[in-house]
């Protein structure tokens, strides 16, 4: 009688433990049913160095999707990235997609500036204005172009 009870208790704990692990995996690893809650957009870059499948797609600093795959367009000499974007995130045809790095040596991610002056992009459309990864990007940007808030004439 006692032997049964001990083993049963252990068994229950193991099952409970597995359920907890499974729950945590789904919650933290985002392994879920992403299927119909997202739509696909494509973006062509002249180079996608450092970008990997599964890297995040960000907008205004928030994660709005994932990099789902890559394809080479030999005619246009571009690497076309498949982006899975959350439904409800609006991206327009004047959007600019750029590949950036988290911090100085972090993961690469695709940043989308949604635009807004044109038409909405639908499932399967392509973001045509893109920026490939560059180093010290913000510094060069400020240097090469003007600053609206600048006081110099």
């Amino acid at each position: 009688m006692k032997k049964y009870t001990k083993e049963t208790v252990v068994g229950i704990f193991v099952v409970a433990g597995l359920i907890c692990v499974g729950y945590m995996t789904v919650k933290l690893g985002k392994v879920g049913f992403v299927g119909d809650k997202s739509y696909t957009l494509y973006a062509g870059f002249s180079t996608v160095t450092g970008l990997r499948e599964g890297n995040p797609v960000n907008m205004l600093g928030l994660e709005v999707g994932r990099v789902a795959g890559f394809r080479m367009d030999q005619e246009k000499q571009q690497a076309v990235v498949t982006l899975r974007i959350d439904k409800g995130i609006e991206v327009y045809d004047d959007a600019i997609a750029s590949i950036k790095t988290e911090g100085l040596i972090g993961d690469r991610y695709v940043n989308i500036d949604a635009g807004g002056g044109g038409d909405l992009l639908a499932d399967g459309d392509t973001i045509t204005d893109t920026q490939s990864p560059t180093d010290i990007m913000d510094l060069v940007s400020k240097y090469a172009f003007g600053d609206v808030g600048d006081d110099k004439k």
Binding site: D94, D129, Q131, T134
Partner: protein, 197 residues
């Protein structure tokens, strides 16, 4: 009777052929032509003698033929564009082009003898292309300078300039978005008015 018909056919063919020639200019041809015009102007000795204002007016004339400031303004504001009413939009386009002129006039006028090479034209989507070019600086560095152009009723106009892979539209978009997040469209116009006084 026969001769007249042939005559009319020839006239008809000529009429069709001529406009086709005019509209045949590709995006690359359009921008290359204008850039070479500006370059020759900047390099010519009598141009250098003229007062700065005249120089800017002459360059502006050429630039306005190939730059689409309205398209540029719309893209730089993104959603913000729709926040402006018609009158504000018009004023924004004027102020923004003045600001750009003020910002880049000196850099343009500092041109000495850099060579500009044009590369290929890639289609981004129907009616939009990117034309590649590069400036060979005096110390032999190659600076990639690409033009993104849009087809507006048969005419190719520039709506973005990409230098070293960085888009001008993206640069201004970030700045305008920050301003519009905290201020009204009228405030934005005031910021531009102050910068272009």
């Amino acid at each position: 009777m026969d001769r007249r018909i042939i005559g009319w056919c020839l006239v008809f063919m000529l009429v069709i052929a001529l406009p086709l020639q005019v509209f045949g200019a590709t995006a690359k041809e359009t921008v290359e032509e204008k850039v070479q015009m500006v370059v020759s102007l900047l390099g010519s000795p009598d141009f250098k003698q003229k007062p700065k204002d005249t120089q800017i007016t002459e360059i502006r004339g050429i630039v306005n033929e190939v730059f689409d400031y309205t398209e540029l303004s719309r893209r730089c504001l993104g959603r913000g564009w729709k926040q402006l009413n018609d009158a504000q939009q018009k004023e924004f386009v004027e102020l923004f082009s003045e600001l750009l002129e003020k910002t880049y006039a000196d850099r343009l006028l500092a041109y000495t003898s850099e060579k500009i090479n044009f590369g290929r034209e890639t289609e981004l989507r129907k009616g939009q292309v990117e034309v590649e070019s590069a400036i060979i600086t005096t110390d032999n560095k190659e600076v990639p300078l690409n033009y993104r152009m849009i087809d507006k009723s048969g005419q190719w106009r520039v709506y973005d300039v990409i230098i070293e892979g960085i888009s001008m539209v993206q640069n201004y978009r970030d700045q305008f978005r920050e301003i519009l997040a905290k201020k009204t469209p009228e405030d934005l116009l005031q910021v531009l008015r102050d910068k272009t006084k």
